[in-house]
Amino acid sequence: MFGERAAELVRGLHRAADGHLPAFNEDGIRQVLEEMKALYEQNQADVNEAKSGRSDLIRAIKFCHCSLLRNRRCVVAYLYDRLLRIRALRWEYGSVLPNDLRFHMSSEETEWFNQYKKSLATYMRSLGGEEGLDLTQDMKPPKSLYIEVRCLKDHGEFEIDDGTTILLKKNSQHFLPRWKCEQLIRQGVLEHVLS
């Protein structure tokens, strides 16, 4: 049935957990494009024939045309949704993505990601006077300046703003400024302790 594979693409993406970026489905896209190409060529032939008299092909042409439009819509939805997810990744992980996510993106998506990073950086630099304003920090209003964190794995030395270093060893607890810890909490090295 036409349009099945395109729907499969969209369904696959929908099944992936919220915000999670599955691997780029090269195969699926290629198959859909082939199908579209086949349909298009079929249609071209049919249109030529219809022009020369065979009017019963008009319904077939309409049907194929609808399928083509459907396929296009699915592919565009797939690509656009992936771009939205990649954009959210920048806000969650920062400018350096973890390796496994990078392998899930196609080269064009990586290109897009770099461009997006540049635009965001330029924008952030233009705000807030000379140093710029990092918008990706503090997505929710913070309740306190310092938070208590517990180290889940050995991370080595970690430098904080006033130049001093802290040794992050497994199972040590620290009381540190919030903005310094957020990155490490997202990476899973530290755990916020609520008491």
């Binding site: 310092y146 040794l167 060893k169 607890q173 620290h174 009381f175």
Partner: protein, 566 residues
């Protein structure tokens, strides 16, 4: 040196600095740590918390962190040794020590710059005077300088003889002084004991700064109760400290006395209780609790058949049907629970248990949650020495620390279950030791060795559990033996610690008497015995009376101890 104003000389010094907290592994230290953490979070003091369970870990932690921190706070460790010599810190490193171990090492007392002791002054110390222990080295140099000046070649013979006499006099004086010094130090350091709970000291600090909360007060109570459960302080001191805390409790919790204006049931409140000293009885059944609490089990001699009969009589005397008593306490008939405490006390005094009730505190929050301070102590101690999953020590420490917060009730309940297992295992081990006469008198002390095949022996490879076992064992032994001399002897218990490495953990506790001052001489005794026999021992624990040694060296070590102490 001792700090007199904790607020100015300790807190205000560190409030602008980054601090490293080194916390020992016992419940009192955990409570003190929680109070201090709460204060630090209030004032945004950046700190790092590192748990330490022995001297080696303390040294390692210090070496790792010494480049990054200048201020170290040690809780329940470090007061009874020469810290500067062990750690070799830089000139600008400062140590604040809040420790219950006594006697405090004289170097720590008289060091004016780097070591600051957060210790209450009303513990009587009997610290030797400065001049008795330290002598200026310069005096000797002057002497030798003068002597060289004086030995002029043209010196008269008489003066030469006078010189020799002066020098011998000085040398004799010096020898006398040194002998006296050794004696004074020996007397001072001979007995180990414990001072005021660190948690109470920290709570006092919070109170001075008017930052004390009901939560912190509860932690102070738990810290004090831990000292009582582990038999570290005398009954007098416990009662005095309870009085002090009672004043704070009424200050924080007076709103509940007025029926109309009382707080919502969800708010946390602390109440003074004159409650039964049966371990965990409100979270267990009354029967189990009576069987597994040291005091009742030893007084009723529950390891014998006679004892079991007496237990049945005890319940019959109170009019409590066995079926009710074996149920979970919360499901007991309400009519039976109403005057339970008075009933039990009355019957208990008929059976020779006069001190079944003890002054303590309980905490309530919500409808279901009511705990006595001793319940929390047992739960937290079990969590900290949990051997079940074989996790590294620090994980257990973190779990135990978390269980002290009221929001982690699941951990607390886990701790209670572990505590029940622990108490049961302790009781069974004690019963089997008494029945099979494993406690032997070696002359100056009693000795018991837990064989490797003993059930639950792995539980007793940890210091606090082994200490509790020893105390229960001694109490039970004293109740079971007819030999009057044996009743006054101290006890040493050894248990296998690590079977692969062939190490044994050994604990010495003072004798069990009515008015014991809980002073323990085994720390020094173990050191001397180890030296004299070249046994491979590890004096790793902060309590000097707990050591580890190799199994093969056990017998010669014991022989040395016997000859040392007789």
């Amino acid at each position: 040196m001792f700090l007199s104003d904790f607020r100015k000389e300790f807190y205000e010094v560190i409030v602008a600095q980054r601090v490293l907290l080194l916390v020992a592994s016992d419940v009192d230290a955990l409570c003190a740590c929680k109070i201090l953490q709460a204060l630090f979070q209030c004032d945004h003091v950046q700190y790092t918390l590192v748990p330490v369970s022995g001297w080696q870990e303390l040294e390692t932690a210090f070496l790792e962190h010494k480049d990054q921190f200048q201020y170290f706070v040690l809780i329940n460790c470090g007061a009874n040794v020469d810290l500067l010599e062990i750690l070799q810190p830089e000139e600008d490193t400062f140590f604040f020590i809040c420790d219950t171990h006594r006697p405090i090492n004289v170097v720590n007392v008289y060091n004016e710059t780097q070591i600051k002791l957060l210790v209450k002054q009303d513990d009587d110390f009997e610290i030797p005077a400065y001049d008795d222990i330290f002598r200026d080295e310069e005096e000797d140099e002057d002497d030798s300088g003068n002597e060289s000046d004086r030995s002029e070649p043209s010196g008269k013979r008489k003066r030469f003889e006078e010189d020799i006499m002066e020098r011998t006099m000085k040398r004799r004086q010096r020898r006398e002084w040194e002998a006296r010094r050794r004696e004074i130090l020996f007397d001072y350091e001979q007995y180990e004991y414990h001072g005021t709970s660190s948690a109470m000291v920290m709570f006092d600090l919070a109170w001075i700064m008017s930052k004390d909360l009901n939560d912190m007060l509860w932690w102070a109570i738990v810290g004090l109760t831990d000292q009582w459960v582990q038999d570290k302080i005398t009954q007098m001191k416990y009662v005095t400290d309870i009085g002090t805390l009672q004043r704070h409790v009424s200050r924080h919790n007076h709103r509940n006395e007025d029926e109309e204006n009382s707080l919502s049931i969800d708010c946390m409140r602390i109440a003074f209780e004159y409650d039964l000293r049966l371990a965990l009885y409100q979270h267990w059944s009354l029967f189990e609790s009576l069987c597994n609490t040291c005091y009742t089990s030893a007084s009723l001699k529950l390891w014998s058949v006679q004892g079991q009969k007496r237990l049945q009589e005890f319940f019959a005397d109170m009019g409590l049907p066995l079926k009710q008593v074996k149920q979970k306490f919360n499901s007991m008939d309400i009519s039976l629970k109403e005057n339970l405490q008075e009933m039990i006390e009355e019957s208990a005094s008929k059976f020779g248990m006069k001190n079944l009730r003890v002054q303590t505190f309980s905490i309530h929050f919500g409808f279901k949650n009511k705990f006595l301070a001793s319940d929390i102590v047992y739960a937290t101690a079990s969590l900290m020495e949990n051997i079940e999953k074989d996790e590294p020590g620090a994980d257990n420490f973190i779990k135990a620390l978390d269980s002290l917060s009221r929001s982690n009730l699941d951990k607390l309940h886990q701790g209670l279950e572990l505590a029940k297992k622990q108490l049961r295992a302790t009781q069974q081990t004690v019963a089997s030791c008494i029945c099979t006469n494993l406690v032997i008198s070696q002359g100056p002390f009693l000795y018991c060795y837990l064989m490797e095949g003993t059930p639950d022996v792995k539980l007793f490879s940890k210091p606090v559990s082994l200490c509790l076992l020893s105390k229960y064992l001694l109490k039970s032994f004293v109740c079971s033996t007819k030999n009057k001399r044996c009743k006054l002897l101290p006890l040493i218990v050894a248990a296998p610690m690590d079977v692969e490495q062939g190490t044994v953990i050994m604990v010495g506790i003072p004798p069990e008497t009515e008015s014991s001052d809980k002073k323990n001489f085994f720390g020094r005794a173990f050191e001397k015995a180890a030296e004299s026999t070249n046994s491979r021992t590890l004096h790793n624990h902060f309590d000097m009376s707990i050591i580890e040694l190799k199994m093969e060296d056990r017998s010669k070590f014991l022989d040395a101890l016997i000859s040392l102490l007789s």
